[in-house]
Symmetry: C2
Subunit: 233 residues, 2 copies
Amino acid sequence: MHNDQREVVVKSLSRKTLSKQVEEQVIQLLVSGQLKPGDKLPTEMELLEKLEVSRPVLREALSSLESLGVIKRKTREGTFFSEKISSEPFSVMLALSIGRIKEIIEARMSLELGLVTLAAEKITDQQLELLRENIDKMKTADDSYPSYDREFHQIIALTVNNNVVAGMIDSLLIAFDKMSAEIQIRHPKTTIEHHEAIFSALQKRDPHAAFAAMYQHLDFVRQKILFEGDRLN
Amino acid sequence: MHNDQREVVVKSLSRKTLSKQVEEQVIQLLVSGQLKPGDKLPTEMELLEKLEVSRPVLREALSSLESLGVIKRKTREGTFFSEKISSEPFSVMLALSIGRIKEIIEARMSLELGLVTLAAEKITDQQLELLRENIDKMKTADDSYPSYDREFHQIIALTVNNNVVAGMIDSLLIAFDKMSAEIQIRHPKTTIEHHEAIFSALQKRDPHAAFAAMYQHLDFVRQKILFEGDRLN
DNA sequence: TATTGTTTATTTGTAATACAATTAAATCAT
DNA sequence: ATGATTTAATTGTATTACAAATAAACAATA
């Protein structure tokens, strides 16, 4: 950003780095409605002229926005706003929560209690069938049951069909699996019973019952996890 | 990254850009446990040597991680892993959901139904007092009641004291306010009644009742919002 | 001694430039 | 018309140099 008549103003506001300011200006293209998700952004060269910053600065900003899943860059094609929120940024952020299993299970509860409620409102017969199959497979597949466990919860999350929370719950379930794998808690019998109860409530399209069943389930998981956590410390 | 004996391997895996690979390697410092939240990272110069990339590439990666709230850079001091997940990345990501009010209200429901349930488990008398005051102020303050409305929900979210969801619900409430401000939906009387019901359930530390009250409240909000949304289209 | 002001040196921040790699689109050959 | 080839536009990477901020070291003063 060259020194010009705005120098004083720019300097006084600029606790922020240039690349941060550029990031905000690009976001502003969305907020102001000048561009929509899916639209092509100006090329780097065009942005350089408009924003009057150096290429490294511009590219730091674009790199940041790409990590946030807001834009997607393709060599030779250009840069585009994404259509929907991505799940990658969440999983990166969750690196900060490694080892804090209580934080993770509570975040899961926060999300899944609401998700199962909304799922009960709108679940389709096909989706119910997926859950049915999942539970049945879990009953037989003795060993690799954790992956079916996760799948069960993922199906419910997908049922709600909400981009904003989809990425987050996915990352959370994966993070939870990684961390709980070390603790090695397995209660197949109880898990299956709980899943059956949740399924039954969803089948009735009963939001309150679905909530109650999920609450009982996750409360059980939380108690086991936290008990083990204490035992290991 | 210089051409050396690993060239073939590097090339074959590298659909990803170098800066993306660097980003992952830095995250790996956390995942592997070599560094913890709050720890200082090596300086840029040290990282340049270890990772064998150019400075712009390294800085693109660090800029990305800073936007994700995973690291924080201070001139002259260095670069540090953050202690906890930040809210900024969420609000940036939500720029993609501008105008999609249904997506936002459903995301709010997903989160807040669970949050109020957990809040009922652990709310303190002081926090109840905050809610009490909030409702009372809302009753008198006729005009600026939307800000009190948001504050009510924020207090509940803060009660749960979970870093992972805190940033998300905050960004969601702000995004919701911005978007619903244009629609101009106001039902002060009903809102206050609902808030009273939620408060009452929280006071009893009754998770199920808290959920039910919040569900009724947000379901009402959703219906009004979606009805107005349809009417305007 | 303690306190304040000054200098220094370290680290991140910004810029300019050059070239590489990718690949959609244009061109050419069959 | 179809397939192969070339071209050119765009993002990706590297190098170098200098600017800005500021913690730490140091000096001056009370």
